[in-house]
Assembly symmetry: C2
Homo-oligomer: 345 residues x 2
């Protein structure tokens, strides 16, 4: 006898990391008596004199931002990584450490303090994409920089301390754990099938249609079958590309357009400036070719039921593994049905 | 030339999971302009008529709690796992899933609504330890239950929806990811060295003393060298034991005592009811012997600077790997210097 396993507790396999995620679809009726978050509606001013990211303002280090009109990047004033650290390892019995070398940058997406990606024009998001490309190439070509992590923490609930539209880039000598996991699975599949693990998956998704949220000629945005966060989304190029440096002008625009559409849907979901952490996974900049890799960008948003109730990844999740209540298909259906026009417009 | 790598950005290796953590000790001066949490001081009433965990109260399912005097366990009314699910796998191209079978229980630590572990008497915590032992044995002996995860989410900030002192137990058919990672490293070391990976590490720590917070004849509580969370702590038995079922009466008491001392220090750190998720990692209940395993309990507390400022594991951490600002040694020193007497007493 065969059941619809999607309606009973089940685990799904993440083909990129090799890890499982527990899904409890029967559990959505659970009442919520726990913590709720403040709903922080976006600020309205286009310039905030107290914001250390606005053009012309002075930062806590004393540096002054130029009167920038386009995306503006600078070295993080409180970098977690430093480029001039010595390279050294230390092993003392079962205690093993090594120094880490790196460069941390801040990327202001726009001079306009009041904006966020969904409220920006697609052509201005294209400038952000071009900035990411430039930084990936420049940082990646520096000595000792073997991996470049582009990411954004959006919203106070995601530890973001400034509402000015911005993201970060932390680049470093060693290859981070999450990237290594994916490398291993891309490689194994490539060697066996001579094709892209993610590319083949995208083909299957494009045929199934069930989890596709937005699509254009060059990109697809979908809720991965193995999504962990309630409304997690992955954007990937249809073409087999290893890194964003390979995007041509048309693809840059297509990427910006899908970013705009997707983040508008996110804001519309709970009629709030939707918080998330997003990041681009692509090949290391250590000179390797990594033909097996297929770059992609993921969005991990914490909100579950409303603008004020989030999913907590706590006890069970920390000690066993991730757990979710709604299925990827339920999340996809909700996102598919949302308008492409921002609720504030 | 050799540097004190502990004062510059470095990575440390977790011998149990095989993963690295980035440490940025120079970064503690970073100002915090981001989200702060509400400081929720513990409720004072010993009985709350609206609490669904207090003795004699009726839960949302209509079940009534007995007038319990000792730790009380029951099946979670909103279990993420169900015992009567069919066992099935489903593979469709690159989409792979399998049903999961399990039992989720709630463990009320005390009938007294106003308490928390640090405010309970050691002999009452011993009863909690005995309850965990009993549940581990009983759940673990059921068909299809191959792993038993005991954990506690404490505090609203950790997704805990009810301040009544309680923890949870989720038991299941498959072995969770985090446990598998540790199994692999215990096993590799055991086969090579014929001794306990964690036991040998404890010996090294007991000699170094630097990271030890509390110790008694049978247990040690320390900040692991590879700690991820700001004030993370691990409690482990000095004796090589695979699971809590092996604790004798004296060891149960010693475990309860160290739990009390440690959680008192936690509350004293920021003079608040200190939030955390804690969990016990021990051997699967699939009938295997796992001689290599050494059980332990870990505390992952999110607070970083005060009762209202936490560490966010967001963008970089989600896409690359964990990052911390204070070193394990700095955290240990702070914890060591705290009083053993609760700040409310
Ligand atoms: O079961 P509870 O306390 O309602 O829920 C809490 O713990 C669970 C297990 O860690 C998590 O999955 C939930 O996100 C969290 O809110
Ligand atoms: O660099 P920020 O924005 O001050 O800090 C934020 O992002 C970092 C990178 O994900 C995290 O390590 C911090 O915990 C978070 O608060």
């Amino acid at each position: 006898m065969s059941h619809d396993i999607n309606s009973i507790p089940h685990r799904r396999y993440n083909i990129l990391t090799g890890e499982w995620i527990l899904c409890s679809p029967h559990r959505t009726k659970r009442p919520w008596q726990g913590k709720t978050e403040k709903d922080t509606t976006p600020k309205k001013e286009t310039y905030d004199p107290s914001c250390y990211l606005c053009p012309g303002n002075t930062r806590s280090t004393g540096d002054t931002n130029p009167d920038y009109k386009e995306p503006y990047t600078f070295i993080n004033d409180f970098s977690a990584l430093l480029i001039d650290s010595p390279v050294e390892t230390q092993e003392n019995g079962l205690m093993k450490a090594e120094t880490e070398v790196g460069i941390c940058k801040v990327v202001c997406f726009s001079p306009d303090h009041s904006l966020t990606l969904p409220l920006m024009e697609a052509e201005d998001i294209t400038k952000v994409v071009k900035t990411w490309k430039k930084e990936y190439a420049e940082l990646g070509s520096q000595e000792n920089i073997n991996y470049v992590q582009i990411f954004e923490n959006k919203g106070a609930i995601m530890g973001c301390s400034n509402p000015h539209p911005h993201g970060q880039i932390w680049s470093q000598m060693s290859i981070p754990t999450e990237v290594q996991k994916k490398s291993a699975h891309f490689k194994e599949y490539w060697e066996k099938n001579k094709s892209s693990l993610l590319g083949d998956y995208l083909k299957q998704e494009l045929e199934a249609k069930e989890r596709i949220i937005v699509e254009n000629e060059h990109f697809v945005a979908l809720v991965p079958y193995w999504a962990v966060w309630p409304y997690e989304i992955m954007i990937a190029p249809k073409k087999h590309q290893q890194h964003i440096g390979q995007l041509n002008e048309e693809e840059e625009k297509a990427f910006a357009e899908i970013l705009k559409k997707l983040t508008i849907k996110y804001d519309n979901l709970f009629e709030t400036s939707f918080p998330y952490s997003s990041g681009i996974h692509q090949i290391p900049t250590d000179g390797g070719e990594y033909p097996e890799w297929h770059w992609h960008m993921s969005f991990y948003p914490p909100l579950l039921r409303s603008a004020t109730v989030k999913k907590f990844m706590v006890g069970y999740e920390m000690f066993a593994g991730p757990q979710r209540d709604i299925t990827a298909e339920q999340a996809a259906k909700t996102l598919q049905n949302l308008s492409d026009i921002h609720y504030l417009k």
